[in-house]
Symmetry: C2
DNA sequence: TTAACTGCAAAAGGTTTGCATTGGA
DNA sequence: TCCAATGCAAACCTTTTGCAGTTAA
């Protein structure tokens, strides 16, 4: 993951910020880039990744800035977050939406095709008028490895 | 919600505790009863419900006891928790499993038939060997009211 | 220039832990 | 009796907030 913050990501960010009268800062670009690079990262992981990129002596965005910007980027529609387990939420870039599947046993995260929930989404829309937001959904359960492990114990 | 802690709930609890050499305490019975009565309650809500039940002068379980027992009850398979939004997790009784649908706009929680995800569960099992745990799933999106509200603004 | 943004530090919220005491089996 | 469980208080971790200094536009 060598590329710190590809300029290609800056374009839609700059546009959306300008449209709202907000400012393009290096911190915002870096946070967005880190989210895209890390996939499934918690705010803390994002902050520490930025610290690492900055290196000793370099200035990384403050933790509070990371939080504020994650919230902003989400409002701008550039990132999404999901709650996978008990702990912190994880953020991922909004492009190429995918569905998260988490194993409650080992914590492993898989990404699956959002189309998996098309049927359920239709039914919710028809029955409740509820619009399912697939990007925010996390499915939890037990992966094959953990099931086998549990089976051989007890 | 008049019944503080129906004795009917105590039976499976006592059994499962005894099977593991653990003890049946009044605190455990109360926590379990509160989870069942409140539905979708956070640990904090459960603790404060218990304080209310105890009344002034009465002794309610300490917050740490509530946490410890929620964890235990979950290990015993009597309650489940789900993360609905950013805040605290919510607990519900493990009997009559249901699926949570949360509106990201207003926070309203609906319960829907777990069968909604049968198709998705089958596919996950077939493709990944992943066993979907429907009780832990929370679907987020936007309810009809919030969609209409958003549409009439901006 | 000027208001949005950041960094810092302190506060808040939720959860966990250590330890002496209590109480179920 | 004996050890699991509780209560209490302090610690912890993550997230939020107030404010003065900084910086994009």
């Amino acid at each position: 993951m060598p590329h710190p913050h590809p300029p290609s990501d800056a374009a839609p960010l700059a546009e959306r910020l300008r449209a709202r009268g907000l400012r393009l800062t290096t911190q915002r670009q870096r946070v967005l880039a880190a989210v895209a690079a890390l996939e499934h990262a918690t705010p803390e992981e994002i902050a520490s990744q930025l610290r690492e990129e900055a290196g000793p002596g370099g200035a990384a965005p403050d933790t509070s800035t990371v939080y504020r910007n994650l919230e902003l980027l989400e409002r701008l529609g550039l990132v999404w977050h999901t709650h996978l387990g008990k702990g912190a939420p994880v953020y991922h870039a909004a492009e190429h939406p995918h569905l998260h599947v988490v194993c409650a046993g080992c914590g492993e995260i898989s990404s699956v095709d959002p189309a998996l929930l098309d049927g359920a989404a239709e039914r919710l829309a028809a029955d409740l008028g509820f619009q399912l937001d697939v990007g925010h959904v996390a499915l939890s359960g037990t992966c094959r490895a953990c099931r086998e492990r549990a089976g051989s114990e007890s």
